[in-house]
Symmetry: C2
Subunit: 422 residues, 2 copies
């Protein structure tokens, strides 16, 4: 007899296989690119290899304040028999290009960054010279090239400056600017729309005019944006199948993929999987994975766009997020598969037994001298306060018992955790 | 005889003492706060302790799909002698508050998140029950509290939720939202104005209508913003004392502090220290520190606002930045003194001799199994390509020789380095 009060989840498969299925299904998707001003390129993913079209520096220049000379004049210089030079001019960084020429016995004052005049092959610091009337004296042999940064020393014309797939840091952007670029070709940020399920959220929103209690969506949005997505909170789905279907459909039209929070389990009002199946083929691909917490996570595909179904408990929701959403954002951002979450080795503070499922272990990291200690954070999987105590997570295979002090690979939730941990 | 071509730097003092002098001079400065919407609070520094004004959950609720019952009815339940219950209703998360009451022998269907009706003290999973006509059967004794998240389990009314000084992560913002807050009181971001010195920059800008080659300012701006400042590139100071003075003065009026890049050494056109001294008391406080690279770094104070004088070579500029600007931004952001750059322990890839000065060692981090390897990055201190190869730095005291494989404390340039290293 069919029970009206129960719908069984399909067999819960291996979470890592489910993840591969999601990513491989989208592997052929070409990520579009856009050209952005360097001033706003920090944090974006470079979409093409960039080569230098010029030498840096573009000419021999000095990195000291001193005198440019021909070092041959100093071969036998000593404090008692100094080499003397007539100072014939001054050069400053702005003086490139210069016609100034040095012949034997002549010197030119060069300020840091100034071009080296023709005929000079070294620069000697002012402090190392003696001033005698209008002449300067040098008291030791100077090597050819001393005090000089030669043309192309920093970057050679034609050299590869940066490879595609790099997350641009301030210094990378500076390097692009130094070869005269004003813009960078970067991958477009994936756009994700977030829908939360449940009449209870609507009821609470009505009590609270500012509609704040839809707070899990706020967490998911923040985590997705930290990973490089543009995340939009699309509001609340009421517990009506047709409305759930319509809202997912509208969200799919505006985004590269959709996240639903809640409504994907086997409760009487869990309409998300049905809605996804109604929207298009193949519909639900994975419903439920062998992960604790996070078992009710899954995903579907509608017109080649994923719908990631996250559980309504925040701990499970975060677990599903890092199994499905985080790698998806990375892939849709143009990052290589190898670009994982920031992760660290840490020493486990107490023994952990994963039990029969993969374990998504929330941990708080603490620094101890030259290592990190990972303390499992206990608490209900529905407690946001648990997540707040944690900095990251570890994935432990089923039936695995880790001893206290075991080495644990901890993934940080995001870059902001570095401000908590260190 | 006074040499027109030389101005000696004052004795170069201990860089860490210089840093303390800067920070202590501003220790009494009160950092202003502002109230921001939670949606834009991620990454900001919380300015007050936040307590919860309510319990989460606000009522006993279930975390399963199942039946709420009185566990006393199940004391002697077995598969052959099950306890039977009449189902008298259904509750969903949106049904709080509810008048529904359970008496002995009765059960209420509860969906995940639903309130527990009066008279029920446990909830048992649907999958664990048997359906017999209109009744359900339970085949084992159920403990009181099973399947229930009690009122206040996540957060108790009056509990401290988050302490001031915390850099808000997505989950923190979610927690604030969960107690009904719409805004957070955060410290204002410090505003820093960046000026670059040198006629050569003006000349290059004139050649390039988009004024890009002022690229070191772009790097400094990016690093300052990653640390939490609002950084404004104020353009280029020509090599004229009065203009340098005027531009620094204008920048000070708009910002909490000013960074100058270049023009602070002892060259003939290094007008920044003179300009700072002309602008107000005490003027230049530190000019030159015992650090390589970075020796020409220093700072002055004008009307209680700092002017950080960074060298014009990019390597030296970055060294000065992390010695003076980074801790200053942290302090002016309301962070505690202990909140340092993200840092990691790493194994040194080759021996390093610091020499007679403090050494600012640029390193590239690589992961090797469960540790990091720090390879010193060599290259001229004027080469941006050197900085691009590095992920962070270590500070090595003078006259110290570190052996290969020695343990090194590496500070990351910023959070974005995590995407390069891991």
């Amino acid at each position: 007899m069919k029970r009206p009060d129960i719908r069984r989840l399909p067999k819960r498969g291996d979470p890592q296989e489910a993840q591969c299925k999601l990513l491989q299904g989208l592997a052929s998707k070409v990520v579009s690119t856009e050209s952005v001003a360097l001033a706003v390129a920090v944090g974006r993913v470079l979409a093409s290899d960039v080569y230098s079209n010029l030498n840096i520096p573009a000419y021999d220049k000095t990195f000291i304040d001193g005198y440019a000379i021909n070092p041959l004049d100093t071969c036998s210089a000593t404090p008692s028999k100094p080499a003397a030079f007539t100072v014939i001019g001054k050069l400053f960084p702005a003086d490139y290009p210069t016609d100034l020429q040095v012949t034997r016995g002549e010197a030119v004052y060069v300020a840091t960054g100034a071009p080296i005049p023709t005929g000079a092959y070294a620069a000697v610091k002012v402090e190392e010279t003696r001033l005698k009337c209008d002449r300067i004296e040098i008291v030791r042999p100077i090597k050819s090239g001393e005090g000089i940064i030669p043309l192309g020393d920093d970057v050679k014309q034609g050299a590869l400056l940066l490879s595609h797939g790099r997350v641009l840091r301030p210094q990378d952007v500076g390097l692009l600017a130094s070869v005269g670029l004003c813009k960078a070709e970067v991958y477009k940020k994936p756009v994700v729309a977030i829908l939360s399920g449940g009449d209870e959220l609507i009821k609470r929103s009505q009590k609270d005019p500012e509609k704040i209690p839809n707070n899990y969506a706020l967490v998911v949005r923040g985590l997705a944006e930290e990973l490089g997505a543009t995340a939009v909170v699309k509001g609340i789905m009421p517990d009506v199948l047709e409305l759930v279907e319509r809202q997912i459909n509208e969200a799919l039209a505006e985004a590269d993929f959709v996240i639903t929070i809640g409504g994907s389990s086997v409760g009487m009002k869990d309409f998300v999987p049905d809605a996804v199946n109604r929207l298009g083929k193949p519909g639900v691909v994975v419903q439920g994975i062998n992960l604790r917490p996070g078992a009710v996570s899954g995903f579907g595909m509608v017109n080649e766009k994923p719908v990631i179904m996250l559980p309504g408990h925040i701990g499970s929701c975060i677990a599903g997020f890092y199994f499905f959403v985080a790698p998806l954002i990375r892939q849709l951002s143009g990052l290589e598969r190898g670009d994982l979450q920031p992760h660290l080795s840490a020493e486990l503070a107490e023994s952990v037994d994963s039990g029969p499922q993969f374990r998504f272990l929330f941990v708080a990291l603490n620094r101890a001298r030259d290592k990190f200690i990972a303390a499992p954070v206990e608490g209900g999987s529905s407690a946001l306060s648990t997540i707040v105590k944690a900095n990251g997570y570890a994935i432990i295979p089923p039936h695995k018992c880790l001893a206290k002090n075991a080495n644990l690979n901890v993934f940080l939730f995001g870059k902001l955790e570095t401000s908590q941990v260190t």
